[in-house]
């Protein structure tokens, strides 16, 4: 197969920007104050979520940018500019911009336990946040508490463990960003693997005077998926052979690589798919009882909700999918372990889930985006009017027309999911018929999403 990639770093300006140590710092210099303001407004601002900067900017503006723009088009770009691990990373480095000699880090440098070298903890952390999400999304104080907790855990982890251990193994958001970044048409990769083999110093991993070893604990020469690449471009800076580049590529290229597929990532795909479905039912459906139940944390009804929520994520949806896998295995007379086949097919859910999240997000982002103008002028809800927009009325954008965006998004996700399913069947040396139950699952899921959002 020909390499259908475009090396963007051949463009001198792009190369110069990415090689600059100021790039990441200057972007974080923008996101960090916004993050701090979100926390401050959460703690000290109005409790009315739709008038509070923290709620509006984190759960509407940032969320929309992440799901609708950054993830599908730029992969893990957000991780490169995320303010949460920045203070810890700066403390580790005892520097803001320029590197220490040899890329030395000031941390206890503990290694993450090998048995936890996976994303199960991220899956658990995401589920925990998701379970309380109705409260977190709507209550500024709780939202600020959660963001502060993320920042403190990130800081503590940086002081104790090596590099970005928090981002790699603990961040509840990082898990799904990594999973869905496989769809993005952009990648950081080495140019020539043979050249890497001759380079004994491995400065991209251990660091050098030019920069730090990969903060994401990745040896760039082995990188064949975006999942764990934080796109910080540190390896571009530390490679003395100019052997690392930023490429534009076809959408979803990583989904054609089935090396390294794992059950923890498969479960992340299920959790994301199920949460998109449940949020569409609970948050944007007309059933007030469900919203009230999800909000009434600790009530007897909430416990039923919590049990069902967890069961749907961990048992029911994966169980239905497993039935489809077993059916497909039987139809295609596929040899081998059902568990591995289940894992292989689960990557079908990456485009399907991302599309479901995008469609779900469109339904509330466009409707609520106009709150942005109010909170920009009055972030705390204290009656300020900094830019003269504090009294702008709520005005839903493109109300009634969202389906024209949502349906095509869902259809693209469905088409891509079916393509991955059929390819997976071929990789098993089975007839394409083996993928039909999986395709039926994808169709049924998309139908349910259409019913919910339409």
């Amino acid at each position: 197969m020909t390499d259908q990639r475009l090396e963007l770093t051949r463009i001198p300006l792009v190369k110069r920007i990415l090689a600059s140590r100021w790039l990441q710092w200057s972007l974080i210099a923008i996101t960090l104050p916004v993050f701090l303001l979100a926390i401050l407004t959460g703690f000290f601002g109005t409790p009315a979520g739709s008038r509070n900067f923290g709620i509006v900017f984190v759960w509407i503006v940032w969320w929309a940018l992440l799901i609708l723009v950054m993830l599908p088009f730029a992969g893990r770009l957000w991780c490169a500019v995320c303010p949460i691990p920045a203070p810890g990373e700066w403390l580790q480095r005892r520097a803001l911009v320029q590197p220490r000699a040899g890329g030395r880090l000031y941390t206890l440098g503990w290694k993450w336990h090998r048995r936890l070298d996976n994303i199960w903890l991220q899956n658990a952390a995401f589920l925990a946040v998701a379970l309380f999400s109705v409260v977190i999304l709507t209550t500024p104080f709780v939202s600020a508490l959660v963001l502060t907790l993320f920042a403190l855990v990130a800081l503590g982890t940086s002081l104790l463990f090596e590099r970005r251990t928090f981002c790699r193994y603990l961040c509840p958001v990082g898990g799904f960003i990594g999973l869905y970044s496989q769809v993005a048409p952009i990648e950081v990769r080495v140019k020539d693997h043979a050249l890497c083999a001759t380079h004994k110093e491995k400065t991209c991993y251990v660091g050098s005077d030019a920069g730090y070893g990969c903060p994401w604990l990745i040896f760039p020469a082995t990188l064949d998926r975006n999942t764990y690449c934080g796109m910080c471009t540190e390896c571009l800076k530390t490679c003395p052979l100019d052997n690392v580049a930023l490429y534009a590529r076809t959408f979803g290229k990583d989904l054609l690589t089935h090396r390294g597929r794992r059950l923890d990532e498969a479960y992340k795909a299920f959790i994301m798919l199920t949460c998109a479905l449940l949020y569409s039912i609970v948050l944007i459906g007309p059933w007030a009882i469900l919203k009230e139940t999800a909000y009434a944390v600790g009530s007897p009804a909430w416990w039923f909700y919590a049990i069902f929520f967890l069961a749907a994520n961990l048992v029911i949806v994966p169980g239905i999918f497993l039935v489809c896998v077993v059916l497909g295995k039987s139809i295609g007379r596929i040899q081998g372990a059902t568990r591995q086949l289940f894992v292989e097919y689960a990557y079908v859910l990456v485009p399907l889930g991302l599309a479901a999240w995008a469609a779900f997000s469109v339904s509330f982002v466009l409707i609520n985006l106009s709150y942005t103008w109010q909170v920009l002028s009055d972030p705390f809800g204290w009656g300020w009017n900094l830019f003269g927009t504090a009294n702008w009325q709520w005005s839903p954008y493109w109300a009634g027309g969202q389906a024209f965006l949502q349906i095509p998004i869902l259809l693209v996700g469905l088409g891509a999911a079916i393509a991955v399913a059929l390819r997976t069947a071929r990789e098993q040396r089975a007839s394409p018929r083996a993928a039909l139950p999986i395709a039926a699952f994808c169709l049924a899921f998309t139908w349910v999403m259409v019913l919910l959002i339409f």
Binding site: M1, P47, A48, G49, S50, R51, V134, V135, T138, T139, L283, I284, G285, P286, W287, A288, I289, K291, E292, Y295, S363, F364, I367, N368, W394, P396, A399, G400, G401, Q402, A403, I407, L410, L411, L414, G415, I418, A419, L422, R423, P432, L436, A439, C442, L443, T446, W447, V450, L451, F454
Partner: protein
């Protein structure tokens, strides 16, 4: 890897074209959906609003009906704004509001609170179903067409 032999390329192009054609047909062709049995009527619907719910949460009418929504607010100021219709009314406790409009567009339309009323305000949502709901039927049909088209396109 995709097969690039001319015959396969032509087949794939044919599948793509047929899928697009059928999807287009599903969007515009007359559908055998149930036609309203009654002629358009004038209906008054009482809706109670409270934090953070409408009762009833789902309103079902027939296309062409003239609808009067009578909104009562039970606890705080609430609004009712219907997506896709130029309808927005606001009520306070003891001060109800009415609005009359013609349900001239088919489909399911969310209605939502237009006055910030508390924590769950952004998700205080109800649904207006204007039957027959042919947009939903068309969307489901297009989804089926795309799924079948994708299976055929990526089969080899």
């Amino acid at each position: 890897m995709m097969d690039t032999r001319p015959r396969d390329r032509n087949l794939r192009f044919g599948i793509l074209a047929l899928t697009a054609l059928l999807a287009l047909a599903a969007l515009v062709a007359p559908l055998p959906v149930a036609v309203p049995s009654l002629s358009p009527q004038a209906r008054t619907i009482d809706v109670n609003a409270r934090q953070f719910a409408y009762e009833p949460g789902t309103l079902t009418v027939q296309r062409g009906d003239t609808i009067t929504v009578h909104l009562e607010s039970l606890d705080a100021a609430h609004g009712l704004s219907i997506d896709g219709y130029n309808v927005n009314l606001q009520a306070e406790p003891g001060k109800s509001a009415d609005i009359t409009f013609t349900a001239d567009k088919e489909g399911t339309f969310k209605f939502r609170c237009s006055i910030s009323c508390g924590a769950l305000h952004p998700f205080m949502i109800g649904e207006l179903n204007v039957e027959p709901d042919s947009p939903l039927a068309r969307a489901l049909l297009v989804t089926l067409v795309v799924a079948v088209g994708a299976v055929l396109y990526f089969w080899k």
